[in-house]
Structure formats: C-alpha cells, structure tokens
C-alpha cells in the first residue's frame, strides 16, 4: 500500500506563467504548503482574494510530525470549512497524566467544562491534516475560488520592491519569474525565504536529544497524554506516549546530550528501547523514526515590507505544549482578514503591523511557556535539576506540588491584552471575553456560537437590540442576536452579572470591543479602531 505521504497530491504541472514574456503579477503568493500556508490560502480564497501557493514539494509532509491539534485550531479549521473531517479522523482527548518512575503523580483535564463544540485536543498526524486541507483547497478551486497550488515550484530568490515582491522560481522545466503584491512566507523553521532576505532568527538552543518513534500496534492504553519523568524503561530521562489514528502511537524518548544521532536512529537501537517500554511480547511495527533537538526563538519582526512571515518560519518552540503548528494556525487566522481588508482598500497597511504586534505577543507567550516546560524536562543547571526533582518527590506526597510538575503547558490561544485594535473596556462583563480574547464557543440554538459568526465583523447582541448591520468607512459589521435566557453557557461566558451585552467580534473571532448596550458612536469608533483606521500611534 502506498502511504499518503508518499503520494504526489499536487504534482508538478507547467503553467502559462512560465511562458509569459514579462513576470505575471499575483495579489498574494504563499510560500510553503504546510498547515500554515494551506490555512492562509484557504482563508484568502474564501474571501475571494486571489492567492497562489508555491511549494518545493508535491505531497503532504513525511512522518507524523505535529500531532496535537488544540480546540482553537479546530475552531479555525471549522471557519476554513475543514474542521469536521479532522475531528472525524482524529482521536479526541482531554486528559493528561504525569508519572514519576512507575507511579502517577498528576492528572489534568484540559477542558473541564462543557458547552463547546470542539474537544480540548485531537491527535492527528500532520500528513492527514495537510491532506484534508489540500482537499479543501482543491474543492475551493474547483468551485471557482481564486486559489492555485503549484507543486515543485521552488522559490530560489526573492527581491523586495516598493510596491511588489519579485520571486525567482525553479521548476523541473527550468526557472521563471513572478511578481506578488504580498508574500506570506510559511516555509518552516529553516525558512529559505528568511535566509534569502538575510533576516535574524535568535533565541535559545537546547542540547538534549529526543527520539520520536511512531509505532503501529494494537494496544489498549487509554486515549490520554502520558508523560513520564525517570521511568524504569528510560532511567534519568523522560518519555511521552500519545495515541494517533490508525493504531499509530507516538513515543517520544529523551536521550540526553552528546549522542550519536545516526546510531540511535538505527532499528537495532530503537527496537530494544521500545521493547523496554512496551514489554517484550508486544508486537509493533516502526512507521517513522526521527531524532530532534529544539530551539525556542523568533524573528524580531514578522512583517518585512511586503513579505510577512507566519508559523515556524517566524517563530519556533519546543514540542512540549503543542505550540508549534497550533500557533502557526493562529498566525494565519490573525493575518488573512487583515490582508484581505488592505487589498480591498478598506484598511490601511497599519492593520498589517497589528499582525506583527499581536503575533509577536503570541509567540512570546508560547516561547515563555515552552521554555519553562523545557527547563523542567531538561534542567540546564544543577540547581534547576535539584528543584525539579524536589517538585517530583513532593508531588508523590503533597497536592500542592502536582500542578508544578510541568511536562508541557498545552496550547491555548493568547489574549491580545492592550492590543492596538482593542477598544478600552469599561464594563464589568466576564474577564474571559475581554477585548483581545478569542471568543469562547457556546451552544446557540441548534448549533454553536462560533459557527454562527460570519467571515467578517460581527456585532453579537445578547438580550438587547442592535441594528441589523453597521457600515462605517467601508467596513461592515453584521449583527447576530442571541438570548442568554435558558443558555447558561452563553450567560456565564458573555454576561456574568449583566442583563445584556453587545460584543464587536473581529473576523478572526477575537473580541474587539464590548458594552452592556448598543451605542452607535462607540461601535463605529471601535470598528474603525479594529481595522487600524483610527490608530495614529506607531505600532511596535
């Protein structure tokens, strides 16, 4: 059987652009067809913004790679029209357990409340995720949306100009040139685009090596994230076990520093390690083996003129916390409505600087969390190890130490507190829905609140009246009316003690502003501010 990641899904084809006398100009070129590039392309295509994706490859990624997709990512994928196939295919989980030696010391529930359409997490191999995203992109193209994916069209040079970017592209038929109004670089942690533009990528490098083994086996471990400190089968190190679809299990074993990577990757070294963990009699097959070290770093700025960086190309974290691919999807979610507004002449370029502000903020939060987890899993000094071990020893006996056992703080979307697009909050409405926060889901009628939000700005009017739509300086916000009577989830998340509320929700489902009642001048001002039309101060 040919596996999905060995099958060309968007094989090379010769396109008319290659024979054009002068380079053809595109509105948006996305470099890289990983999860982030595909999300950006789908989002722009849904907004009728012409977008071309160029990828050096013609198929989904090799090996499972990113496997944990968080609730917020699933909500973004729902908006992109491909959340359901992911959830159908993925394995759902909400619980994590931490073991010291062979005893459980701590368990956490990542979604301890109901009233959400999506679970805390699904596990799904990155190749399955990409497969469904490619499928969605191709369906949009077939339906006439302006999106194209070119396989084995590799960007090998890039030049920034005042009003466009020039790209030199290598193909099996030789090179050609393209121009783009805007480029979104989603070409991964080793981003050739970043290198070609000579841009920085600074941060911390961690020295410990980790072995990833995806094994296929029939096993009856529960669908939970299991993490071990100092297990009997990997003394002095850590281990992680995670279930994926198709009876594939992710096993992640810390190997320590100064190892021979090639030797450790050989099956004759890997298999005994796995047998020590799983037992001598468990039959399994190796699907994918990889050894990695990791970095926590980011670019200083994510926007460089007309080239905008997203995902791992812009920032990199350790895998503990599943904050890589998930935060890349948050980047695309944040960027695309902004770029669409700029391209349609409805917002100034300053709106794109808010992408930089908000996603640098997000990256810093992810890097902070990821670095802290890494510090616990791979202590960098004697004192660090001393306190880590003290926490583990105490956790076996005392409840207070258990939440300190940091085996990865799992991805949650960040709140853009003090963000440049927020309108100051003067209400006593619940903190979790304050300006900058991602709108939490809640049941609504037969469906869900997030599913009822449109692709544009939404005025969510709860138990109060608001006009059907507000048009301000070329911006449009449509009203969604809801009642929190007999809807305790909506009431708790959006009203608190108040009897009514009006929320202005951005196209990426983050709250821009809120009041207890509809106030036309305030809403118009907030709408302008959310599109950077009234932001005079320079953005950081």
């Amino acid at each position: 059987m040919t596996r999905i990641f060995e099958t060309p899904l968007y094989p090379y084809t010769h396109v008319p652009d290659q024979d054009a006398v002068a380079p053809v100009r595109h509105k948006v070129v996305v470099i890289g067809a990983g999860p982030v590039g595909l999300a950006a392309a789908i989002d722009l295509a849904q907004r009728d913004i012409p977008v071309l994706v160029v990828d050096d490859n013609d198929r989904v990624s090799f090996g499972s790679r990113a496997i944990c997709f968080a609730k917020r990512s699933l909500e973004i994928l729902d908006r992109l029209g491909c959340g359901q196939p992911m959830v159908d295919r993925g394995v759902v989980w909400n619980t994590g357990k931490v073991f010291l030696d062979d005893a459980q010391v701590f368990a956490f529930d990542l979604l301890p409340e109901d009233g959400h359409r999506r679970p805390a997490f699904i596990n799904l191999q990155q190749y399955h995720l990409e497969y469904h995203m490619v499928e969605r992109l191709q369906a949009l193209a077939a339906a006439g949306k302006p999106v194209e994916l070119r396989g084995r069209h590799r960007v090998h040079a890039i030049g920034q100009h005042e009003d466009h970017v020039r790209l030199e592209i290598e193909t099996p038929d030789g090179p050609y040139s393209l121009e783009a109004d805007w480029v979104i670089a989603c070409d991964g942690a080793n981003s050739p685009t970043r290198r070609m533009l000579g841009l920085d990528f600074v941060g911390r490098v961690f020295e410990d090596n980790f072995l990833i083994a995806d094994v296929v086996m029939e096993a009856d471990f529960p669908t939970e994230r299991w993490f071990w400190f100092d297990p009997p089968f990997n003394r002095g190190q850590s281990a992680l076990l995670h279930r994926q679809p198709d009876n594939v299990w992710r096993i992640d074993l810390q190997l320590g520093r100064d190892i021979d990577k090639e030797a450790e990757k050989a099956p004759e070294r890997v298999i005994p390690r796995l047998k020590a963990m799983l037992g001598e009699d468990v039959a399994f097959e190796l699907e994918w083996v990889s050894i990695y070290t990791f970095q926590c770093r980011r670019m200083e700025r994510f926007r460089h003129g007309r080239v905008i960086f997203a995902g791992d190309a812009a920032h990199q974290v350790s895998p503990f916390g599943a904050r890589g691919a998930n935060s890349g999807l948050h980047d695309a979610d944040n960027l695309c409505w902004k770029l669409a507004h700029v391209l349609e002449g409805r917002a100034p370029e300053a709106l794109l600087d808010s992408y930089n502000w908000e996603r640098v903020w997000g990256a810093d939060e992810n890097i902070l969390n990821s670095t802290r987890s890494t510090e616990v899993i791979t202590p960098k000094s004697e004192a660090s190890r001393l306190f880590r071990d003290a926490v583990l020893d105490l956790a076996a006996h005392h409840a207070f130490a258990r939440p300190m056992v940091n085996s990865g703080r799992l991805s949650v979307p960040c709140t853009y507190d003090d963000g440049p697009l927020n309108t100051d909050d003067t209400t006593a409405l619940p903190a979790r829905t304050r300006p900058g926060a991602p709108a939490p889901d809640a049941p609504l009628g037969e469906g869900w609140l997030l599913g009822a939000l449109g692709q544009g700005f939404t005025i969510l009017a709860i138990d109060t009246d608001a006009p059907e739509r507000v048009i301000e300086a070329g911006l449009e916000a449509r009203t969604l009316r809801a009642s929190a009577r007999d809807n305790p989830h909506l009431a708790a998340r959006y009203l608190g003690e108040a009897g009514s509320a009006v929320y202005l929700i951005r196209p990426d489902q983050h709250v821009a502003a809120r009041w207890e009642r509809f106030d036309a001048p305030a809403l118009r001002a907030a709408l302008r501010r959310a599109a950077a039309l009234s932001t005079q101060e320079a953005l950081a």
């Binding site: 071990d389 003290a390 926490v391 020893d393 105490l394």
Partner: protein, 67 residues
C-alpha cells in the same frame, strides 16, 4: 521590600535552628541540598503570596556575605 516579615517571628528560634540542623544530620551534601529544595518548596507554598516570595528570593540573594 515591604511585605516580607524580616523581624523576629519564630517563638522558639534556638529550638527551630537545632531542629533544622538535626534534620540534616548524617545526610550527604547532595541529600542535604535535596532536602533544602523540598523544604523551600513546602514553605513557599505555605506562604503563597507571590510578592512575599519574590521579596524573600531577593533578600536571600542579597544577603550573601562577601568572601
């Protein structure tokens, strides 16, 4: 520095000091350091107040004798 109580606050200071030392008796330097780490975490959790803890960390860092 204003929340951290650095005035005498333990009724039986000599007794406490003796018990602290006795708890470490016959421990290797390594085991003694591990015990201290557990003790710090237990006491820190009991105090709870983040501001007090930060002040205590700073006070400890700044009171090392020049050698």
């Amino acid at each position: 520095m204003n929340l951290l109580n650095t005035r005498p606050n333990i009724a039986d200071a000599d007794g406490f000091f003796a018990e602290l030392v006795a708890t470490h008796e016959e421990l290797s330097a390594e085991a003694s350091a591990a015990l201290n780490a557990r003790l710090v975490l237990l006491l820190a959790n009991h105090i709870g107040d983040r501001q007090v803890l930060s002040e205590a960390l700073q006070a400890a860092a700044m009171s090392a004798r020049a050698r």
